[in-house]
Every structure is written in structure tokens, then in C-alpha cells.
Subunit: 306 residues, 2 copies
């Protein structure tokens, strides 16, 4: 059976966009439920400046409280050298860097040109690798930029090549505001492959802003991609920016993959339970379709009603 790896981003990409700051113990309890569901990779937090993202200011505390020897690789986002040092101090073994393919998005997001970002990340990645860490590098706005619109695929080809050469073992191609369509996914992946970038070094990170995340993932799957980022119950997006949907929902993705005969190692019901847990913790309705169906099924059986 063909294996697909689902890289879970809800504790980081999901919770960083919540208005409420989730207590540390609740984050840990959430991640413990994810571990129990069978993931191999979970992005647990972010070592960006606490002032930027107070929701994840407790990254070191979260990491310190995670269970040991689970076999799961825990990842954390690091924006720069300082973030990497904090991640090292916290005992992380795997970090994720980020920058945008489009100039304007990168400037607005990290206040640097893409050239400056790339130069900085080369150092960060080299240091991380020298410390024995695994590194994945996000490239955002690959499939479109909310400020510039179309983004030339050659920018992504260049950045992906440079980041891999710097030592990243995986590139996550981000459809940051959900603008991609399946033909574009085929085209971008074909171009990257043509430029010598192996598909097994690539991940798709699709947002569901326009409802196309799972269709885009299907296209990636057909093209040969075998790692996909997803977020439990579609957690993410910004609840205070109406219509800014989160990542592809893990439950929907896993339902589709299992139906198609792919092995993920995940227990779908256990993923759903993690989704119910974090929804209850946040106290807002999460957008994932399978998640809502699952909660509805339980409600109808009376399992969750008083």
C-alpha cells in the first residue's frame, strides 16, 4: 500500500491565528491527543518573538512538557538565528524556516526583501544542520500572492533550490491564501521537477480559502507528492478576518486518502477526538467538514448532549 505522510500543523499554524491564547497545559493535552492518533510529524509551536505572536509565546514551555520517546518528530517554526537559538535551548531536533516567494508578501510578513531573507535563512539552516537538526523550509505564496496576484514559478524554483542546497531536507510549498487550482499544482510541480527538485523533497501546504484545498492536494497526490500539511478540523485562518479559512482539514484529507487505499498511520477517529478537544478548548466552531459531520454524528447518538 502506498504511504502518505500527513504533517500536522494545527498546534502552530492553527493556534497562532486564534484570538484567544490557549493555556500551555491545554496545548500539551492537544498535542498528546495528536500523538495518540498516530502522527509521525507534528509542528508544535513557533519560536518567533513573543511580541509578534503572543499566542505561541510559551513555545519553550510547551516543548518542555511534551512526552519523550514517542517516535514522533516535533517541529517548531523559527524565523531567524535568534529563534533557532531558542529552539536549540528548548531541545528541539527539527525546525521549520519560512519566507515568501513574492516580494511584497515577504516584506509585509518579515520586513525584509526575499534576497535578505534567503541570505539569513542560509545561515540559520547551516547552523541547524551543524547542530544535527532536521530542517524544513516553507515557501509561502507559491501559488499566488494577496498583494501581487500571480507569482512567477521561477521564483519558487530558485528559492527551493537554494534552500535545499543550504541543507533543508524538505520544502513546503504554501498556498498561503488559498488561490491555487489543480492545473496550477500540476504545472508548478512539473516545473520544479524539471529543474531537478525531487518530488520526495516537496510538501504541499494548501489553505482552503476558496474551498479548493483538497482538490489541489488530490492533484499533488496524482503528480506524486506523498507529504501534505494539514490542520485538525481546519483550525487556522483568522476568526476575526471573516472568510480567511485555515489549512486543509486533516480529517477530510485522511478520509479521502484512506478511501483511496493510501496508508497514513493515522487513526481517523482519534484525529477527530483531538479536533473535538481543541474545538471545546477554543469555544468556537471549527470549519472542517468531516469534523462537523463527526460531531453531528455524536450529537445525534446523544453521546455529547446532556
Amino acid at each position: 500500500m502506498d504511504r502518505v505522510n500527513v504533517y500536522e500543523v494545527a498546534p502552530r499554524d492553527g493556534l497562532q491565528n486564534e484570538h484567544e491564547v490557549v493555556p500551555t497545559e491545554m496545548k500539551v493535552a492537544f498535542i498528546e491527543r495528536l500523538i495518540a492518533a498516530g502522527y509521525t510529524d507534528i509542528e508544535v509551536s513557533s519560536f518567533v518573538r513573543p511580541r509578534w505572536i503572543p499566542q505561541l509565546a510559551d513555545a519553550s514551555d510547551v516543548v518542555a512538557r511534551l512526552p519523550r520517546d514517542t517516535g514522533v518528530t516535533f517541529w517548531a517554526l523559527v524565523p531567524n538565528r535568534r529563534g533557532l537559538e531558542r529552539a536549540l535551548d528548548a531541545g528541539m531536533h527539527a525546525v521549520a524556516t519560512f519566507m515568501s516567494a513574492s516580494e511584497t508578501h515577504n516584506l509585509k510578513n518579515v520586513n525584509r526583501t526575499t534576497r535578505e531573507s534567503l541570505a539569513g535563512l542560509r545561515e540559520v539552516i547551516a547552523t541547524a544542520v551543524a547542530e544535527g537538526m532536521r530542517v524544513r523550509s516553507y515557501i509561502s505564496t507559491v501559488f499566488g500572492c494577496p498583494y501581487e496576484g500571480h507569482v512567477d514559478v521561477e521564483r519558487t524554483v530558485h528559492l527551493a533550490g537554494e534552500l535545499l542546497a543550504a541543507g533543508a531536507d524538505h520544502i513546503s510549498l504554501g498556498d498561503t491564501t488559498g488561490m491555487a487550482h489543480p492545473q496550477q499544482v500540476f504545472d508548478v510541480l512539473e516545473r520544479l521537477q524539471g529543474a531537478g527538485i525531487p518530488l520526495d523533497r516537496l510538501t504541499l501546504h494548501m489553505h482552503d480559502t476558496r474551498g479548493t484545498a483538497l482538490a489541489n492536494i488530490l492533484a499533488g497526490l496524482q503528480a506524486g507528492i506523498r507529504t501534505f500539511d494539514a490542520s485538525v478540523s481546519g483550525l487556522g485562518g483568522c476568526p476575526y478576518a471573516p472568510g480567511a479559512a485555515g489549512n486543509a482539514a486533516t480529517e477530510d484529507l485522511v478520509y479521502m486518502l484512506h478511501g483511496m487505499g493510501y496508508e497514513t498511520g493515522l487513526d481517523l477517529d482519534a484525529v477527530c477526538e483531538a479536533g473535538l478537544f481543541i474545538e471545546d478548548a477554543l469555544g468556537r466552531k471549527l470549519p472542517g467538514r468531516y469534523h462537523q459531520y463527526y460531531r453531528g454524528s455524536l450529537d445525534r447518538r446523544g453521546a455529547r448532549t446532556a
Copy 2:
């Protein structure tokens, strides 16, 4: 450019599931907005017994108030001979019949065996064709039954063949409770083709209960299907059965199709405006992703805020 036909079901499959009865004039205003968006086919109501679906009890009134000479084919659902007569009396030129592939769903839905339903529909279709009407026939639960689970594709092969032989010009294959996955779509369509049923006589009618509707449609598109049912803003499902999502959302589908270079004849912004109109009329948040993104964009621009 390759042409794809989007068959709009919101006024029927959407509104029949709303708790509130939408006033006739509001339904007509909704359909007028759909006409303006560029559809060729709109399913406007249902001539089932008013006692069964009071939400659509005004079918004749709706039809009587629709604009003439729009070039749009208006369709209405008819369950049986009596429904067909009412549709004829109302001046309809196109009707849709329905039955389920699974025995249990058919029994629960229309209180007949599939054999009884098929016998009845053969007559209904023959009469409709003799009256010069076009007929499409829905087959529900093709991809799974909420009572029986797996549904043998041979049941669908048999029913589709019989309904086409009876005079239907199109079969709409329904994933009634959103259980399908893309590989199953490929497999079912391949089997139907193998049985001599041409793809251009087939439509996919996918529900988004588990978030897979658009991915399943993409599979259908790749397999050669060129007509898809969809519902503005994902209208449909039952707001009082938590998690029972509606049809594939038209806006999401059209965004994907246009991005991939397919021509639909639809003005996406005009479809979105129809979605905002019916959402305001219903007073509940509709689930379509692109719809929510569109409303959010307007809110952020201040166009819809006081």
C-alpha cells in the same frame, strides 16, 4: 476552451432542506439573480406533495412568476405521475425524477422498493417525453448509503441503463451523504462507460459532508464528465442535523474550473451576489468557502458594514 456545464440546484435541493419557508417572491428574486449570473440550467423547485416538503409547496407559483425567454432551462423535481401532472400544468418543459441505488434508502425516502420505483419512473419518463419534456434522472446513494454502507455499482449500472432507455436524457449520479472518494469516482465512471453508458449522459451530484465534494468533482472532470450539479454557497444539507453539509458549493467549483481554463458561461461575482442574497434572506451563515471569503472581502472593504 473546454466547456463545463454547472447545473444549479440551490433553489430546490438547497431550499428544501431549510427549516424556514422562504417566501415565493424571494425565491423568484433569487432565481432571477441566478439567471443573471449566466446559468443554462436551474432546478427551480419540486412538485412533490406539499405535505412532504412544505418549503417547496409553492412550486407552481414560483414557476408562474419566472421570467420568460431567458434561454435558461428551468427544471423541477417530480416524484411520480401526480407530480409530473402538476409540473405539466405549471408549464414546465424539463423535469427531474429521483430514486436511490440502495434498497434501504429508497424505501425510507419514497416508501417503495427500487423495483417499484423504477417501474413507476419508466411511466413518468415516457409520459414526460411524450409531452415533449426533457428528463434528467437522479440516482441517489450511488457512492454509499447511510443505512447500508457500500452500494454495488452494478445496481447503478442497471438503473442508469433502464432510466436512459426509458427516455431520460441525463443521469445525475448522487453522492447523497458525501461518502465518495476520488478513486471510487474513477471506478464507478469506468464501470458505467464499460457498460455502454456515455459520459456525456452523466452528471455528478456530490455532497460535501466529509469535505471531499470538489476533489470528487475533479476526479469526474479528469474522467471526462462535463456536467456537475452544484449549489450556491453550499446551500443545502439540513441546518438542524448538525454536520449534514450541502452540495458542492457553486462558487468554489466555478473558481476551480475557471482557474483550470474551463468555460462555464458563469460570472463568478454574480454567482457570489446571488449567494449573499439568499444568505441574507435565510438569516443563517452558509457553508461555502468561496462565499465566506467573498463576503469577508466585502466586509473588509466596508461595502457591507454600516
